[in-house]
């Protein structure tokens, strides 16, 4: 048994200056702040809860408008997307959904990788693949939302759409 090596948190300081903050009362390896990681894990935990609440609203709204109103899924085609993204409201809606959902999902999968991949190198590479995929998808999606032309001219003909200038 190695229990003798474990010191009581209250006896770890030779100087006995426990009144000067927590520095003398908690052994360094158990301290939750001031490490190289900073508050990253706490901020990630908080982000999951804050983004989660916003995502419930954004995604339920997305599903309602795209699947349950009017003809539902049969109405979805190029013109449907063009009509939505001709409006800055839906551009911002979808942009917020893209970023929050990707970061929320990436942090969730990061947690799962940390839980189940036991080898250091496996954990490292799985997370690198994850971060690469996340970066590509977020940049691609953002560019598509903002560089998209809702009124393309195909073979010299303006596609029909009530939102396009004549």
């Amino acid at each position: 048994m190695t229990a003798t090596q474990i010191q009581s948190p209250r006896s770890g300081n030779d100087r006995g200056q426990s009144s000067s903050g927590d520095s003398g009362r908690i052994a360094p390896q158990y301290r939750r702040n001031g490490s190289a990681r900073g508050n990253f894990e706490m901020l990630a935990w908080l982000f999951m809860r804050l983004s989660g609440v916003v995502l419930v609203v954004l995604i339920f709204g997305h599903l309602f408008v795209n699947l349950l109103v009017g003809e539902g899924i049969h109405a979805i085609d190029f013109g449907f997307v063009a009509g939505k993204w001709a409006d800055p409201f839906w551009q911002f809606w979808d942009l917020a959904m893209l970023w929050l959902a990707m970061l929320h999902g990436t942090n969730g999968v990061r947690t799962i990788i940390n839980d189940y991949a036991e080898k250091d190198s496996t954990r490292f590479w799985l997370k690198m693949v994850l971060y690469a995929a996340t970066t590509v998808i977020i940049i691609l999606g953002t560019l598509v939302i903002f560089t998209f032309n809702p009124c393309p001219v195909v073979d010299g003909v303006q596609l029909p759409g009530g939102f396009c200038p004549a």
Binding site: G52, G72, D77, V109, P152
Partner: protein, 126 residues
Amino acid sequence: MPTKPAGTLYRGREGMWSWVGHRITGVVIFFFLLVHVLDTSLVRVSPEAYTAVIGAYKNPLMALGETGLVAAIVFHAFNGLRIIAVDFWKKGAKYQRQMLWVVLGLWVVTMVAFSIRHLSLALGGH
């Protein structure tokens, strides 16, 4: 001899299974999200490319898949709100089991309503 811990409050009970369900639905939603951003990006390629790929979402088998996906999303959403309540509400941990049954009840009601509407639109004569 290692023995099973006796009388745990968590293992094998509502708390553990809701955690398992939250993980599985989370991973499923994440992989769909990657695909969904890619298919939507085709609007940037050409109207024909987008309309062709989105046509793949409109067959009866996919209608069932979409319903399953929405079932995963709705569970993850409601159970996520339960997790927030457990973390931030003073009595959250005490009532976590009861809140899971509320989550499952709301999930059933939401999915019955969604399935009737979506499947009748997707499978109905068009």
